[in-house]
Assembly symmetry: C2
Homo-oligomer: 312 residues x 2
């Protein structure tokens, strides 16, 4: 059994996007085992999630354990930290423990990039960003590897964050704008921890694709539910989306019927589902899949360096 | 973050029993968070289970990951291997990774001992054992710490195993016997991986307490369901027992109604439930709780030695 601290030498987005796309395809073909993630609530507004899965095409199985503690920043710790434990599929022996904190950001970014690649017909694209934190950066970098970006419009509740983000991505013509202006784009990416709608239906024009990334726990939502009424909603996993994705609040209030979901991203990747017309508004409701964690773990195991630990 | 290989220096059964009893009591009071364990099926007849929990009284949270691969013995590996990951409840940062293979055996033994202590009114006791493997030994040792044992009657499908077991525990007047004779006892402990009943109702006399330990996955059962009809069945966790405990097969066929369950071991420990009379047959249906794993992990963290690992 080896421990992989993974402080440097991350896989490139070219590799990550490819691995994540293959994992979604296998999900679309029904070739994976992945129970819904399980939530445990802790103190100080924190929780942790346990995400087991088995991805036979890569001969890899394991569990990601990931916390979300919004108050951590004040303590000098990341809000989200993660470990992935890998088991040998033939014997069940744990073979690797991987620091998955940064990998979680990368694989989520890649999920958005794959969704945009399949659901946004126009190229090159204008990206709109609502939220300018770590995940917004991951989405930009992963998407830049999958699509040509000719402009970025970024909004953050903290204008300074948006300005810093814009100067970091000035190579893509990034500018800090109003939230309405950010929504005027080809691919809108929302990455905030909001618990009430902040993106209004009036601001979204025909043909836009939205990556709704922020909602990842019961009670969180970023989009005006009126957008869901007109949009074609693709989810990563139906069970997880209903429990904790962008649709979780409107489903729980009866405002949105889960039967309206147009399909999964996996089905989109294998060509079984897709946007109905260039003018449709499409949404990818991302909650994060355990098979994404296994797919990126497999890249680390190929190239990373680990410490040998005694086991059993 | 530290890794605890735990190859020596196990906590004593005196400590383990006390810690496990306290964990069951807190479960009985409803003071824990513990979603049902989640199963993922692997190849070669193996699976792994993910067991997250939070035990506020000990300020401890985490996840045990444990496999079951019956074919491992031929490969020179344990059938069951486990890791427990501990998270700080205030920040979610992983603080410890513990080799929980042997700890799993200890905490399961202690669960049986606590059940026998509360549900077997006669002292000293004759123990009957059906199955003579690692867990049978753990049950004997934990029970010997909780109760006075004046005789052990042990049966195994492999008579040599039963004889070796009897000589190992000769201090408790242990003898290898027929399965019928093993069932003629005060506390019967079944620890086999059987998928069909091997303990018949005719063999069980009034007043016996049965620790049904072996069934821990859908499809497994050791007891003639006619025993469930006459017995008072206590479970560790209702959801887990219905899914994968001794009652899982009779529940799935409609032979046993889960509403017949008399209570949980936690409720027994806090005095809310108990055997109705000295003549009743009682059963403890053990599936293994994640809070048992956290309770024994807390003992290791107090005294064990770990390797420092870089995180985050």
């Amino acid at each position: 059994m080896k421990y992989y601290p993974v402080h440097t030498g991350y896989p490139s987005y070219a590799e990550v996007n490819l691995a994540i796309e293959a994992a979604f395809a296998e999900h679309g073909r029904g070739g994976v085992q992945m129970p819904s993630k399980v939530y445990v609530t802790l103190i100080e507004n924190g929780d942790f999630r346990t995400m087991p899965a088995y991805l036979p095409t890569l001969d890899i199985a394991g569990v990601k354990i990931v916390n979300v503690h919004p108050n951590n920043r004040a303590k000098g710790l990341p809000t989200v930290m993660a470990l992935t434990i890998i088991l040998d599929v033939k014997t069940g022996i744990p073979t690797a423990i991987i620091n998955a904190t940064e990998l979680t950001a990368l694989r989520t970014g890649a999920g958005g990039a794959i969704a945009a690649k399949y659901l946004m017909p126009r190229k090159p694209v204008t990206l709109g960003l609502v939220g300018a934190g770590r995940q917004a950066g991951a989405q930009v970098e992963a998407t830049a590897t999958a699509l040509e970006i000719d402009e970025i419009r970024v909004w953050s509740r903290a204008q300074k964050s948006a300005e810093a983000f814009a100067s970091r991505y000035s190579g893509y013509n990034a500018r800090s704008v109003s939230i309405e202006r950010a929504c005027d784009c080809d691919v809108l990416i929302t990455t905030t921890p909001s618990v009430r709608p902040i993106v209004m239906a009036d601001w979204i024009h025909e043909g836009t694709h939205i990556n709704a990334i922020g909602a990842d726990a019961p009670g969180k939502q970023e989009l005006d539910p009126a957008i869901l009424d007109i949009a074609e909603v693709f989810v990563d996993d139906p069970g997880q989306a209903i429990h904790s994705g962008e649709i979780n609040v409107p489903v729980s209030t009866g405002r949105y019927d889960p039967a309206q979901v147009a399909g999964t991203l996996g089905e989109v990747v294998i060509g079984k589902k897709g946007r109905s017309s260039p003018d449709a508004v499409t949404i990818f409701d991302s909650t994060g899949l355990a098979i994404q964690d296994l797919a990126i773990a497999a890249l680390v195991l190929q190239n990373g360096e680990g410490y040998e630990l005694p086991f059993p």
